[in-house]
Symmetry: C2
Subunit: 479 residues, 2 copies
């Protein structure tokens, strides 16, 4: 029982210190560890298993849409990085430079890829000749490096895991359609599988990806009211194609440049899961990406027949669900705390009395609701409860976002509503002037998060200058 106590003591309450609560969960749920490599993290088996489930899900979605995986070198020669001027300006300040191979100084230094547009473009220039070669729909799963000053597990680290899609199309329309399609894939994955409601939108010009014509993103609101950019999708026009001299012969036999997209999401999503669904008992995982969906805990384990009965349940369930039976020597109380910390969506308890009554107890992680069910309906009941966890998580996250979404017509209103209700999404109209964008941030503290695809005119004046408004914008504090 000493362990019980230790476990509970170890977590900072989210209301006391959200940042501390977050890193506590990262460590106590065995998601990560630190090493002597500053700003990088070790992703431990339980954390990596979540990532593998995310990968498998997304990889299936990408392939279903015709994308193919490739692997590019992890290094980019400095001259290659410099080929597209906006791109290099955006990334050069935050790359790691390799200057020596063994004891030899390199004639040209290379950076570790912060993103691979330049490498893909060089390759596309080699392999695209004719309209018959298009579209090219490539994706890569790898790690990238960005030399961040301030780091936090999953949310911002010097090295992180991600996927980067890079596609080439015959026409601008096709490329734009791809950009939007992939944004929708990310949104659907977040809403259905991660149970995280998102706002789909475009970034304002000041916030675009280095070298992109348009950047789209999905924005999620965390439990503490701060915003997380969860995935991005970029439309490049033919700017990189021009810089890298990528051309193809079209059906009229003319030599023209193709149009390009890229889109990516990262291990940051795990941070999003933690901060959207977690609570003071630990992690809460949406069933789609939970390495253990159902944990079975025998009660009064030494009594005859209990372990066998628990094993029987595990055997029945393991074909359809990711199941773990914990028949270790730890107390049931310790186990409850442990698997709550690890965010296992459904717990099954079974003891001598349950066996006698041909039943077991099911507890759902997000609301700790207990249900006694007949063993005759075990499979159906577990499936139903997992769906209930997904739906419950989504409803709770959506309620949090709705409670924390403020329509504002003036900067004073922004300040007042934030002071009264805390951080959240501010919905306010904007004239399109970057100076107003900066001023809103300076005066009220919230920056533009995105211009939502679903527009609504909540006023006809810019929240800052009062001139005619062009767009509804979501504002907030970003992770």
């Amino acid at each position: 029982m000493a362990n019980d106590k230790k476990l509970v003591e170890a977590i900072t309450s989210m209301d006391v210190d959200f940042a501390k609560w977050y890193t506590d969960i990262c460590k106590k749920a065995d998601l990560i560890d630190y090493s002597s490599v500053k700003g990088c993290m070790i992703i431990r088996p339980y954390g990596y298993a979540i990532w593998e489930l995310i990968q498998k899900n997304l990889d299936g979605r990408f392939k279903e849409l015709g994308h193919e995986n490739v692997y590019m070198p992890m290094f980019i020669p400095e001259s290659l990085l410099q080929k597209e001027k906006d791109h290099v300006a955006g990334f050069a300040p935050e790359v790691a430079w390799v200057t020596h191979g063994g004891s030899e100084k390199l004639t040209e230094r290379m950076c570790v890829r912060p993103t691979s547009e330049t490498l893909f473009c060089e390759h596309y220039a080699n392999i695209i000749r004719s309209y018959r070669d298009l579209p090219k729909l490539y994706n890569q799963w790898c790690s990238v490096v960005r030399w961040e000053k301030t780091t936090r597990p999953f949310l911002r680290s010097r090295e992180f895991l991600w996927q980067e899609g890079h596609t080439m199309h015959a026409t601008a329309d096709e490329a734009i359609a791809e950009t939007v399609q992939m944004l929708n894939v990310y949104a659907d994955f977040h809403e259905k599988d991660l149970a995280i409601p998102v706002v789909k939108g475009a970034k304002t010009p000041s916030d675009k990806f280095a070298g992109a014509e348009d950047t789209y993103a999905i924005e999620a609101l965390m439990h503490d009211g701060k915003a997380l950019q969860a995935a991005t999708s970029h439309y490049f026009g033919n700017g990189f194609a021009k810089a890298f001299d990528i051309t193809y012969t079209d059906k009229e036999n003319k030599l023209v440049h193709p149009f390009q997209t890229s889109w990516g999401c990262t291990t940051r999503m795990i941070g999003g899961i933690i901060m959207t669904h977690g609570d003071d008992n630990g992690l809460v995982l949406p069933p789609a990406v939970a390495p253990i969906q159902v944990v079975i805990i025998p009660v009064a384990m030494h009594k005859e027949g209990v372990i066998d009965a628990a094993k029987g349940l595990a055997d029945r369930l393991k074909g359809n669900f990711r199941v773990k039976l914990d028949d270790s020597d730890n107390s049931p109380g310790w186990k409850y705390a442990e698997y709550e910390m690890k965010g296992v969506p459904v717990r099954i308890e079974i003891g001598p009395r349950d066996i006698e009554a041909n039943q077991c107890v099911i507890v759902t992680r997000h609301d700790r609701e207990k249900t006694v069910i007949s063993l005759d309906n075990l499979e159906a009941a577990v499936a139903e409860k997992l769906q209930a966890v997904r739906d419950g998580l989504y409803a709770k996250a959506l309620a949090n976002r709705e409670r924390r979404t403020y329509n504002c017509e003036t900067m004073d209103e922004i300040i007042a509503k934030r002071a009264e209700n805390g951080d959240g999404f501010v919905r306010a109209m904007w004239c399109g002037d970057p100076e107003c964008e900066d001023k809103v941030k300076e005066v009220t503290g919230v920056g533009s998060r995105c211009v939502p695809l679903e527009q609504e005119a909540i006023s006809d004046k810019c929240v800052c200058c009062g001139k005619p408004a062009k767009q509804l914008v979501y504002w907030g504090i970003a992770y």
Copy 2:
């Protein structure tokens, strides 16, 4: 038809120039491309799909045995690399050094991991406390960098993809058992799934991994008679554990060091597949890792009903096999050449007469044997043919190895047999003296490949000095 010709012209015959034949296949079968990053390769969709199938197969085998995946940082601080003295001596000359982050010079330079023993040890020192924490069975899929002077696609490149298992055990016996178990996993995968016969053995002391007590490897013989080290498994004793101060409290409450292994295999295996099974028509893939197992080619495609019939076959097969229907405008002859180049194990041809006769033609890639089969037996016939390809490939590779394996009692005999029959495995006795090992290489040209686990005394004298022999050794020319 112009395309037919171009495709065939493009390959150098393996008998004319094996090295050129090899790189021709890498390029013409769309496995790789080069980039401006010297010594690194781009793995193209078809090549990467092979790697994904290899990964999935091995990952399943590892997990079945209780291993868990993790992700460690890609960087190693110089001081961490230096903690185990043999290890740093082995790797420091061939690492890439990162010296700057953005515009800032790092206070300590870091290398890009050439292998991750040091990082795993640092982590294990943090998380291993008691005998209850053992064993730790971790694996990582990632890319590593070794600054090679001479590079060749898949076989030796500055960056390559691999998996590295790193495990910690309470006793030396357990760790040795793990080392051997993983060697057997690699051997079984090669023999059953890649259809590559291998010799399991230990490396001689001069050829061990930097810091290991024992290194085991599987050695395969390529079509040209050269040897390929296809995977390795190392036993470390508790040397690293001492250097990294990893201790645990055993059942008697004593503080002791655990025992360690590591084991790995790489994208080099794809090179092994090419050089074991390929021929002058291109790649030949073992069915287990063929991205396309069955290609369906409609003949006289414009005739009524042909495309529908071909689609019908694809629909019937796609649940059980990886199937591609090529109904593009290219001629059947072009398609035959194309999918032979890509090594697709089974080709199905179907034309108007076949449809009338309720049949199709199946052609197996490795022997180009044609069989007419009734459509009533389609699924069973395809499964049988795929098995026939696997078995045929294995038999052919084994015959090549047997033809090229020479038992020799003197160095003169080695020279004579190699002069007469070409490169291959030389089996000869050794006294265990490293000087003899060096001299054999100097005089005859072949280096020690491994000390096979299956020993046999083919003579009682060392092939070099004539003193009493200790072990049978396989000698050869290594890739």
